[in-house]
Structures are given as structure tokens and as C-alpha cells.
């Protein structure tokens, strides 16, 4: 069995940033395992620009952003084992992987989970109708077009107005397809405003809110979809059914952190984020196993993935070196108007700790309050909040020391 200080599972933006940070914190025996032929993860098919504005101060395409981190990995001579699929991780950090050279087993001082997420598929939506060709998840269509050069379709309906759906509406249009509609079951879009403007408005693509695809038609190839408005329980309203001819349906209906390995290792999970329960160093409740990036929580910007991964890398390096990760324990929890708070526990009250959270629905002016019992620790006004945009509040050691054993983040709507 090979021994490493740190084994990173996944070579996307999270895995590469975590490996670099761990190396820079003094752990030189780091290895990255990735199932694809090249590192970079999902960035390699995201050819649009807009990556890196927050972290690098530049607007890059996905492959360019990945290349910057790939160069940092190469400069430190951190090995990347590609076409290597991890099949098991034990609580005492033995990592088993399937590679072109057969089965390999690695003993890790610390494991960093950075497997990313996958797309929710048609089966999870229970859409009525036939099973013709021409129905793709948006990310699959993106890979077929951008990496393999296929034409996916000519007349397109997109279900889901998250960022991937919006990006694909523009991409398909520029490749010569006619995007008939983007349907969104919620009363608001989950995508960034910038994408609503530059991907839909620029091309006069209609966005229908409170609307879903109620039925799929066609035997061999998709011939059209029936869309319908939905009621308060998100059920299609029969009187509003409307047929749209199309040969392609793209689904952009949510991302699911890919945590099969995490669960099999016995790592306790958060049912809301779909990721592990972690402290502020991204350490799970199994000592020495860390998680970062979209496998921990689905992010809206890769810049924040890199930042989170750097915390995980530094935390993992500290664990390997044996520096005690302090063990005062404060729990965080979502209150009114907040869907989740991450990290779920805080162990170190001697340094600034950032809490990340998502709101449950869009609101105008609000005040985000951080309370411990009746004690108001801090409050942050926000002109507008939306579930698609992750929020952050940083707590100083002074505030952390004032906190009891639980911190609650809540929203109060302001007039």
C-alpha cells in the first residue's frame, strides 16, 4: 500500500485548489485522483466566460480558470492520477481506486473529498409521456457540443432556469438552434441576473415562470412538449396546457452532490445541503476526512469553490501535522428565511470564521441577524437576497467568544 500525507478525491477546481493549499501548508506528499482523462472537472466543458472575477480579478473561461490551477499543481509536482476512479474510502482513510493499472490502495494521512455534483435527471421529475431521443440534461448537451462537436438539436425547450439552463440557451442559439422557451417551475429564476440578461434577453428567448413541462411527445425522436402553468403545489393546471413543437428538451433542474463514497465511509450528512456536516476547516465528523466544493454544497461561483477548497487543504495539512484543531464546539443553525448554514459547527474561536448561507426565497430589503439565544451578535443589512446567491457573514473572535453553544442566522424583512 502506498502512503500519502493527503489523498484528494477529484481533480476539478476544488480538488486542485485543496491540493495546492495543502502542499503550501507543508504537506508535500499529496496526490490527486480523478476518473476523467484530464483534470479540470466540469470547467473543461464550460467554455463561456465569467469565471475568476472575484478570486483572480479577471474574467476567464472555464478551461482557462482550470489551467491556472493545473499549472499551480504542476509547479509543485503534485501527481494527478487520471482515469482513476475511487471506489471506497474507509473511516481510517484507506482509499481504494480502480485505474488502468488495476486496483490501487492508498493510505492517507488525511482525505479531501472533492467529487463535485451531478445533474438531476428526467426520472427524478416524473414527466409524463414517451421516451424518445432528444431529451438531455443541460450538462450532457454542453459536453456533446463543446467537447465533442455534436449538433444536439434544432428546436429546443429548456426546463429549469438555473445558470446551466440559461448558458445552454445562449450556446444552442449561437450554434444555430432556435430556443423556443425556458420554463421555470418556481415563481423566480435560480440563475444570476447577468445570465438572464446576456443569455435570454439578448436573444429574445421567453422565460415562463410558474411553468413546467407536463408531457413529452414523440416515438423515436422528440416531437414536442406540452407545457403548463403550475398551482401552489407545483401541479400542472390542465386549462393552461400548451403544445410546443421541438426536437430537443434540455433539463437543468438541479444538482446533487455526488456523495456515495462519503456515505459509504459513514460520514454524517446534512439533509439540506446534500453534503457532509463540517466545521470551519471543512472537516467532516470523521477526523481526517475533509470535504470541499460542490460535493459539500452546490456553489454558484467557482471562485467560492476555490476559496472553500483552500480552507479544506490548510485544515487537512494541519491535521496531518498533528496541530490540534481546537475543539470548542458551537453549532450553527438556519432560522426564519434561511435554508441552511455552513459550516454546521465551529471549533476555533480564536480566528475569524465565515458563515455561508442561502435564503429560502427571494426577498427585498432584509436584515440578516446572527443570534446566540437572545443575544444579538451581529446584523447585516442586504438590499436584496435570492436563493441563487450565497450569502456570507464573518464573525470575529470577540463575537465567537460571546456565543453560547448555538448560533442562529435569521432574516427579518425590512419595509
Amino acid at each position: 500500500m502506498m502512503h500519502y500525507d493527503i489523498v484528494v478525491v477529484g481533480g476539478g477546481p476544488a480538488g486542485m485548489a485543496a491540493a495546492v493549499a495543502a502542499y503550501d501548508a507543508g504537506c508535500t506528499r499529496v496526490v490527486i485522483l480523478d476518473r476523467e482523462p484530464q483534470p479540470g472537472g466540469i470547467l473543461m466543458q464550460c467554455i463561456h466566460n465569467g469565471f475568476g472575477l472575484h478570486k483572480l480579478g479577471r474574467e476567464l473561461t472555464g478551461p482557462e480558470y482550470a489551467d491556472i490551477y493545473a499549472q499551480e499543481v504542476a509547479r509543485r509536482a503534485i501527481p494527478v492520477l487520471t482515469e482513476t476512479t475511487v471506489t471506497n474510502i474507509t473511516p481510517d482513510r484507506v482509499v481504494t481506486a480502480q485505474s488502468r493499472h488495476g486496483i490501487v490502495k492508498l493510505q492517507a494521512g488525511a482525505v479531501i473529498l472533492a467529487m463535485g455534483c451531478r445533474e438531476r435527471s428526467r426520472g427524478a421529475l416524473r414527466i409524463c409521456g414517451t421516451r424518445p431521443a432528444g431529451i438531455y440534461s443541460a450538462g450532457t448537451a454542453q459536453k456533446l457540443i463543446n467537447c465533442m462537436g455534436y449538433h444536439v438539436g434544432k428546436r429546443v425547450v429548456i426546463l429549469g432556469s438555473g445558470d446551466i439552463g440559461l448558458i445552454m440557451a445562449r450556446r444552442m442559439t449561437l450554434e444555430g438552434a432556435k430556443v423556443e422557451a425556458v420554463c421555470e417551475v418556481m415563481p423566480y429564476s435560480g440563475g444570476l441576473t447577468r445570465n438572464l440578461v446576456q443569455c435570454l434577453e439578448d436573444f429574445d428567448i421567453p422565460l415562463y415562470l410558474n411553468t413546467t413541462v407536463a408531457e413529452v411527445h414523440g416515438q423515436k425522436r422528440l416531437e414536442g412538449v406540452t407545457i403548463a402553468q403550475v398551482d401552489g403545489q407545483r401541479r400542472p393546471i390542465p386549462e393552461t396546457r400548451r403544445f410546443i413543437p421541438c426536437d430537443t428538451l434540455l433539463l437543468s433542474v438541479g444538482l446533487i452532490p455526488e456523495n456515495e463514497l462519503t456515505r459509504a465511509a459513514g460520514v454524517p450528512m446534512d439533509p439540506i445541503t446534500g453534503g457532509a456536516l463540517v466545521d470551519e476547516h471543512c472537516q467532516t465528523q470523521i477526523p481526517g476526512i475533509f470535504a470541499c466544493g460542490n460535493v459539500l454544497q452546490v456553489h454558484d461561483l467557482v471562485d467560492y469553490v476555490s476559496e472553500e477548497a483552500e480552507r479544506a487543504g490548510a485544515g487537512a495539512a494541519a491535521f496531518v501535522r498533528g496541530s490540534a484543531l481546537l475543539n470548542t464546539s458551537i453549532n450553527t443553525q438556519p432560522g426564519n428565511g434561511v435554508r441552511y448554514v455552513l459550516p454546521q459547527t465551529i471549533t476555533d474561536t480564536t480566528r475569524d470564521v465565515s458563515l455561508f448561507f442561502r435564503v429560502s426565497h427571494p426577498m427585498g430589503k432584509v436584515r440578516c441577524t446572527v443570534r446566540s439565544g437572545a443575544d444579538l451578535l451581529t446584523a447585516l443589512p442586504r438590499p436584496r437576497v435570492a436563493p441563487g446567491e450565497m450569502e456570507r457573514i464573518t464573525l470575529s473572535p470577540d463575537l465567537l467568544r460571546r456565543a453560547g453553544d448555538t448560533i442562529t442566522i435569521e432574516l427579518e424583512e425590512l419595509p
Binding site: I47, T61, N146, L174, T193, R194, L196, V197, Q198
Partner: protein
Amino acid sequence: MTRELTCIICPKGCRLCVEGGDNRLTVRGNACPRGEQYAIAECTNPLRTVTAVLRVSNRCDTMVCVKTESPVPKAAMFAVMERLHQTTVTAPVSIGDIVMDDLFGSRIVVTKGAI
């Protein structure tokens, strides 16, 4: 002329209203000066970065990704795509390589290469 648009400079997403003629535009609804700049640019000379993929003449299993190095006029986006659809490259190509020197005022630069 009156035009309504959504500011994309920050996540706040102000609803902007632009009024006036060719030389005199007034902007309402912006919470900060950047909103005014954005609205005037959008109404006078809107620009967009275009990204695309190119075929590789000596490879069948990969595409090369490119972008306009600087933003091009929004109205030229489809013309840019048409030119890029007619363009092939020959591997090896590296990230940062220049494929075209001037397409609607911008160079075309490789963002993902092919070995």
C-alpha cells in the same frame, strides 16, 4: 426613446430606465454611478465576449475552445459565429494561441488547446 433594462454590474439587479435621444441619455433607477455607465453603454454601444469551439483538422476526438480577446459589438455576435464555424485549426494548438488577428476588432484567442 425609452428603454428598460436590468443592471448586471452587481447582484442587486437594479431596474434601469433610459430616456432621451442620441446625445442626451438620462438614466433612472440606478443605485450607483456604475449603473448609469452600464445603461448608457448598453444603449449606445453594447459589447459582448463571444466564446465558441473550433474543429481540429487532424483530430476527431477533441474540439479547441476560443473566445474574442476583447468584447465585440453585440449585433456582430452571429457574424462572429459564422466565421468561426468556417474555421478549423491544426493540432498542436495551445491555450493563448491567436487564431485570427481581427474579427470585428478583436483577436480570437485559444482558451483550450489540443495536443
